[in-house]
């Protein structure tokens, strides 16, 4: 296909897409107006039905809990796939030890250590970030946030250690057995938390625990527990992916430092 044919084909289809988009946009509800019956119903009833003040979390972990379980399984499978693809192959292992010229090159290319000010600032932020992540996970049913958001925040905490140039500690944190255990426990815990509802005689993931007082930390029945599991799974999953990506680079940097 010549360049001119391709261009004319592109222009025709782009114009058609533009027309369709314009006609679709004309039919859309006005900006900021919402016509969903379910949204209004959930906004009205959730606080009384589930004793939870964050309706989004209630929707995610109670009203449509199985969908969220599916989402978390997607994340879990993605993490497994990424770590499997990026694992160190037998042909790669020990290559850097034999090839001396490559080692030298990596030593010269070694990134200089960050300044003392950067180290202090970033390492000082690790604690607050961990606390903030835990807060978002545990208060998911009270304030905006929840397992997914808090888990992501928790996973970025070790990255600060990396930015501070403390590679050994960073490697110790992210290659820890606890990360893998956290991933397994998070996803498995979510799966298991659905069973009591079935045993008592309702549906899978039915909210069977006492719901407590609205606004308390221990309220909302199973929602905070599922949140905790999700937070653990998301944080551990993201850390495993980062580890899979960084493994090779990190080895070389650590060798260059010796």
């Amino acid at each position: 296909m010549s360049r001119r044919v391709r261009q004319s084909l592109f222009i025709v289809s782009a114009l058609a897409l533009f027309g369709v988009l314009i006609s679709a946009a004309r039919e859309m509800p006005a900006f900021g107006h919402f016509y969903g019956a379910y949204g209004e119903l959930l906004n009205r009833e959730t606080v009384y039905e589930r004793h939870v003040t964050d309706v989004v979390t209630a929707v995610n972990f109670d009203w449509r809990g199985i969908d969220t379980l599916g989402e978390e399984s997607i994340l879990f499978l993605a993490v497994i796939g990424a770590t499997l693809l990026l694992r160190r192959q037998a042909s790669e292992a020990g290559k850097s030890n034999n090839d001396d010229s490559r080692d030298d090159e990596n030593k010269t290319r070694n990134v200089p250590l960050p300044s003392a000010a950067t180290r202090v600032a970033t390492l000082g932020l690790v604690g607050p970030l961990v606390v903030f992540g835990l807060y978002i996970v545990t208060h998911g049913h009270l304030t905006p946030g929840g397992g997914f958001q808090g888990g992501v925040v928790l996973a970025t905490a070790p990255l600060l250690v990396y930015l501070a140039g403390d590679l050994k500690t960073f490697k110790k944190i992210i290659s820890h057995v606890l990360v893998e255990a956290g991933e397994a426990l998070g996803v498995g815990g979510f799966l298991l938390l659905g069973l009591p509802g079935m045993i008592i005689g309702g549906a899978y993931l039915r909210n069977v625990l006492a719901q407590g007082t609205t606004g308390n930390l221990f309220s909302g029945g199973m929602i905070p527990l599922i949140n905790l599991c999700t937070g653990m799974a998301v944080a551990a999953g993201l850390i495993s992916v980062i580890y899979a990506f960084l493994e090779h680079t990190l080895e070389l940097r650590l060798q260059g430092k010796k």
Binding site: V56, V153, F245
Partner: protein, 94 residues
């Protein structure tokens, strides 16, 4: 409020276009990170703090990090291949 929303929407458009038109991948990743923050602000302004939280951490930190790591790996692999390509003829000559 409407003015604020319009401003942020405009910024989203500008930064998004800038990311598309940046040719150097490393610069593009930095732009992408900036775009992630602006998009998080838009979600926050449109009263979706849940989404804004994950957008800021994923869009501004995790996604650029993944891209940076991929770029570093690709660059090292291609350098290695180049070096092997150079050393191979020398071995033949010897």
């Amino acid at each position: 409020m409407v003015v604020l929303q319009m401003t942020i929407l405009l910024f989203v458009g500008i930064t998004g276009t800038a990311v598309v038109f940046t040719r150097d991948p490393v610069r593009q990743v930095v732009g992408l990170s900036f775009y992630g923050i602006i998009l998080g602000l838009l979600f926050f302004i449109l009263q979706a703090p849940d989404v804004a939280l994950s957008q800021i951490t994923i869009g501004a930190v995790a996604l650029p990090l993944m891209f940076m790591l991929c770029l570093a790996k690709v660059r090292r692999d291609s350098e290695q291949r180049k070096r092997q390509g150079k050393s191979a003829p020398r071995r033949e000559a010897a």
